[in-house]
Amino acid sequence: MNLLEKMRETFALTDFEARKIFRQKKCLAGLAVNLLLTLLVLVGFYLRKTGAIKGHRQEFEGRLITEFINGTSFCITVLLPAIYMIMPMVLAMMAASVLAGEQGNGTLRMMSVRPISRWNVVISKLLAVTLYSLFLLSCLFATSMALGSLFFGYGGDIIVFGPAFIGKGAGIFIMDSDTAMERAVLAYFFCAYSLLSLSAMFIMSSVIFRNATTAAIVPLGIYYTSYILDALPLMESIQRFLPTRYLMLWKYTMAQEIMWDRMLSDGIFLAIYTLLYVIIAGFVFNGSDL
């Protein structure tokens, strides 16, 4: 009974938070950046495919790669810069704006003199940012699939550069058309899970720092630093402690055989991290002066 009421409140609050996000012009900024990325990759693929870039087409490797340019490979390629760079940035800004930003302009106080629980405020803001990330990912998938299919043909075999996804030691292999399409969908799906965890971290940061700029920059700085360290040689000894370690579990969907066991264990760790972020955010927010 009480729990049901609480859940109804969470739902109403999330609905309100999501409406607020989609009513703001800055909601379109994330969309615009993703679209720009898609168009740039499109131009790159197009020039490559039509052989406008001389030299590459002469090499054996270059010609081989060109054979595998199609809608599916385009859709997956676009995902890489989006998930590693653009989405974290856009979501950090959005999370900072919905929590720390509202604290700064006083609207959070206006909400908090109403009989709603502060836990629910934090959770609904996280859920709303997550809905926004789902919206961005869906748009990215739809536009890249549509444009890729239009320019390079729907479906087709793809070539997977193992090291780019799984890390050193993974091979380069060819994936057939149906599998590739299935993996593209799975990759986008698990990206949403990674973004949920990132958003939770950004919301926690918002609650702790209370200032929108600091709230966005600190976790982004940590994220990008971890990301770079993760890719650097000689850093193996600290890589296992990086907060980004379990984040990108979607990439295991791009292995020759999906690495389900690895995804499960990473997924559990990620869930624990996410839960911790939410609990810390909730406790800090509950006790903070508004």
């Binding site: 109403a12 609050l13 309100f16 607020k20 009513r23 703001q24 012009k25 302009n105 006083g106 609207t107 106080r109 206006m110 909400m111 908090s112 003199v113 109403r114 009989p115 709603i116 006790g287 002066d289 508004l290």
Partner: protein
């Protein structure tokens, strides 16, 4: 207990070493209008925030409608309308939408009530405009309208009524009381520390325990400070 809408006993709150509110006690009678005056930094906003659960006191008791605030918070807040400091709204939503959503989380009310509230404060014409396009005075009016829709029985507002502009609808505590009483009973502790020419406000203070109980921390009150 009857007759007392707000009862505050031995309320204290520090910010680090700074004792912002030191052992304040007072009570507010049903149906009365009060001004809450004191120099800048005296602790008025801090007291009001504690009355609304925005910050926790270090010690003390707060009873509203005879209910203990800290154990019955939600029940109480359903019946309280409040503006703390400057009115803040979602600028990308219209005036009507702002009131609709805010009242929804105070327990909900009919759309007619919201339209009525908007017309009381003279914002009917602009109800479908985004609040971002409003002047400060218009936002203040919306702040007042915002305290009305659900069946509020107590209204706590800080600064919202401060120097209301000479607009079409002149604002005064008496007008406030007259407009919003009716079947509901109100108690309105205002906090217009920069109110000038607040004769009506001073009349409105029935029993004046405020200043006596408020340990004033700022002896050289700034020019804007409230005087009574």
């Amino acid at each position: 207990m009857s007759g007392k809408i707000i009862e505050v006993r031995n309320l204290s709150r520090s910010y680090g070493r700074n004792k912002a509110v030191d052992n304040v006690s007072f009570s507010v009678e049903e149906g009365s209008v009060h001004g809450f005056l004191g120099p800048n930094g005296a602790g008025k906003t801090t007291v009001i925030k504690m009355l609304l659960g925005l910050i926790m006191p270090d010690c003390g008791e707060v009873e509203i409608f005879g209910l203990d605030f800290f154990s019955r918070r939600n029940e109480i807040l359903k019946r309280v309308g409040a503006v703390v400091e400057a009115p803040a709204f979602f600028e990308y939503l219209t005036a009507f939408e702002n009131l609709k959503f805010l009242s929804k989380f105070s327990g909900g009310c009919a759309e007619e009530r919201i339209l009525e509230a908007l017309s009381i404060v003279g914002l009917s014409d602009v109800k479908d405009k985004c609040v971002g396009t409003f002047s400060y005075g218009m936002k203040q009016r919306l702040g007042i309208a915002q305290t009305l829709p659900p069946r509020q029985q107590a209204c706590i507002s800080g600064r919202a009524h401060e120097r209301p502009g000479p607009a079409r609808h002149r604002w005064s505590p008496q007008a406030h009381k007259k407009t919003f009483s009716g079947e509901r009973r109100h108690s309105l502790p205002l906090e217009p520390s920069a109110w000038r020419g607040g004769a009506g406000l001073r009349q409105g203070v029935n029993n004046r325990p405020w200043k006596d109980h408020l340990r004033i921390r700022c002896p050289g009150a700034a020019p804007g400070g409230g005087k009574d």
